[in-house]
């Protein structure tokens, strides 16, 4: 299946979060764990929309994105993450059905553990060009390399930055006490 280029803009073709999750369970079985959160609001505390939280092993990540793309073009928000000891956990934040009508949006948050011995992720750049800055930022802040990302220049750090220091890491690769300044 080719990656979609256009979003679903038809209300009838939007799927419910249960349908999306059951398809993911069908494809991946136990490899992917999923949690659904209701977002309520307003005077009567009605459900506005849903967020799904998935966690997936690194090998299945590209397949998962392709499975999401069966439903709609996954609109990309950002990559967040944390240094969790032996692994760097990355969280990819996507949106499905962003233009499919009132309350149809499903937020999809995918967490992927990346082992520190092999800090390489497959790049999504060929599928979603909008990931460029996030992947470059993750590369400079966590030292996670992206396989297939054409431009790997620094984004936010100054041009004379010592690239062996990865500011958001908590181990020896992170900034030492001398690198962090108290201003006042």
């Amino acid at each position: 299946m080719s990656f979609p280029k256009k979003p679903v803009d038809n209300v009838r073709s939007a799927k419910t979060p249960e349908e999306v999750l059951s398809r993911i369970r069908e494809v991946f079985g136990d490899a992917v764990s999923a949690e659904l959160r209701e977002r309520k609001g307003g005077k009567e505390d009605r459900v506005g929309f849903y967020d799904a939280w998935l966690s997936v092993p690194k090998e299945e990540f590209l397949n998962l994105v392709d499975t999401l793309a069966e439903f709609d073009f996954p609109q990309f928000h950002v990559i967040s993450g944390n240094d969790d000891g032996d692994v760097v956990t990355l969280y990819y934040h996507f949106t499905l059905f962003q233009v499919a009508g009132r309350g149809k949006r499903i937020g999809v948050n995918v967490s992927v553990p990346v082992d520190k011995k092999d800090l390489v992720m497959p790049s999504l750049f060929s599928r979603i060009p909008g990931v460029e800055y996030s992947e470059r930022e993750t590369r400079e802040m966590f030292g996670v390399d992206f396989d297939g990302l054409p431009n790997k220049a620094l984004v936010f750090l100054p041009e004379n930055w010592n690239e062996s220091i990865k500011p958001w890491r908590r181990d020896e690769a992170g900034p030492s006490a001398g690198d962090v300044r108290e201003l006042s």
Partner: protein, 411 residues
């Protein structure tokens, strides 16, 4: 063959977390390619937050951006409330929506004024700024501050809407319904302004989707993407907001700077409607989940989880992700994605095939704010000559184009 130039722009550029340095490849006056390098104002806010508790981070998140400060606070708080499962009382949700819309009003008016300033339409700039002061007054009555309001807190808001304030707000809505349309007419009916803004910096529907553009930028390309519609959060569940797209008003979406102007102008009217709905439907009740700050902190210290929130800030979709660890009162980690972070990715596409004189306008069109360029260095690649183009000269170039158009119009 025309000479090729490489023009760096920036980095003294007022743009929240992401002020931009851009290198434009020129052939004569035409831009054939662009490279963008953000990072001049990267302060490492996410890193600083590791040593602070969520209440302290509120004031840090307020200072991510001075224009959409409240949007960042609400987004951060919603992520914390998601991580710790804290409910927000309905009245607090409504007050948050009120301040969010007031903020959208002043941000859009500032942008509309600055866009006029960039093309040399100074009278419209001053008109826009005069209009903007009224909403600043209302924000000052509400919170005591003009820029960083300090209104929201974990599980609610700190200031209530009094009878006096609701009168001020209602007067303001009446004032704008009367006074805003002359400003809008002056710009949209002006043939010169239209000639400068139309077909400049075009971003097509497909490009906008693929590059994850957000907010008025993506809506101007005809995409009905508005988080207040597609994922109504908090009080927006009750309002029934519809995304503003140019094809609903003018039949077709061009995706150019003029459409971005129209979308923002119509969103001003939309915000006024939402403010009216907020004031009519304001429910009674508490404005805070817990008044005692120490109890809130103790609760947050025990809470554990990852929370995420996306809300529609004035420039588009703002995303915060927060993780809290049980036993640690500080924010373990936090990630902020401001709207310009997404929109800047599509800048090189907008630059393509435009004139150098339009560059300031295109940079401004996604609303990164005023004073975008300090100075530019023009390098003549064939001879190695360097010529410094100051921001004044570039602005002058931009304004000269308007004068040229006016001349043609007269002939």
């Amino acid at each position: 063959m025309e000479k090729k130039y490489k023009v760096p722009i920036g980095p003294v550029h007022v743009g929240l977390k992401e002020p931009i340095t851009a290198w434009l490849d020129l052939e004569g006056e035409k831009i054939v390619g662009a490279t963008v390098r953000p990072g001049a104002i990267h302060r490492g806010i996410e890193f600083m937050a590791r040593d602070r508790n969520p209440i302290q981070v509120i004031y840090l998140s307020e200072r991510i951006c001075g224009i959409c400060s409240f949007a960042h606070v609400v987004c951060f708080l919603r992520a914390v409330e998601d991580a710790a499962s804290i409910p927000v009382p309905p009245r607090a949700q409504y007050i948050r929506a009120l301040v969010l819309e007031l903020e959208r009003l002043h941000s859009h008016m500032l942008w509309a004024g600055v866009a006029c300033y960039t093309i040399g339409f100074d009278s419209a700039f001053h008109l826009g700024m005069v209009l903007r002061e009224r909403v600043m007054d209302v924000l000052e009555v509400l919170s005591g501050n003009r820029v960083n309001y300090g209104v929201a807190t974990v599980g609610g808001v700190r200031w209530d809407v009094t009878a006096e304030l609701s009168k001020t707000v209602k007067d303001m809505v009446k004032y704008y319904k009367r006074e805003f349309s002359p400003f809008y007419d002056v710009v949209t009916a002006d043939p010169i302004a239209k000639a400068r803004l139309r077909d400049v910096g075009v971003l097509t529907y497909e490009e906008a989707i693929a590059h994850s553009a957000v907010g008025p930028t993506v809506r101007a390309s005809g995409v009905r993407a508005d988080l207040r519609e597609s994922s109504p959060y908090e009080a927006y569940v009750d309002f029934g907001v519809k995304a503003v797209v140019p094809q609903d008003y003018y039949g077709k979406a061009y995706g150019d700077v003029f459409d971005r102007f129209l979308v923002r102008v119509h969103e001003v009217y939309q915000s006024l409607d939402i403010i009216e709905k907020v004031m009519e439907g304001l429910p009674e009740g508490d404005i805070m989940w817990e008044k005692n700050l120490n109890k809130v902190l103790a609760y947050l210290k025990k809470a554990e989880g990852t929370g995420m929130s996306s809300i529609e800030a004035p420039r588009g979709d703002d995303t915060h992700v927060v993780h809290l660890d049980g036993g640690d009162e500080n924010v373990t980690w936090w990630k902020v994605r401001a709207p310009t972070y997404s929109n800047a990715v599509s800048w090189p596409l907008m630059f393509k095939d435009n004139e150098l004189a339009d560059a300031p306008l295109i940079i401004n069109s996604i609303d990164p704010c005023i004073s975008c360029m300090e100075r530019m260095l023009v390098t003549d690649a064939s001879s190695g000559d360097q010529k410094v183009v100051t921001r004044t000269e570039l602005l002058e170039k931009c304004r000269e184009k308007t004068r040229r158009l006016m001349q043609n119009d007269r002939n």
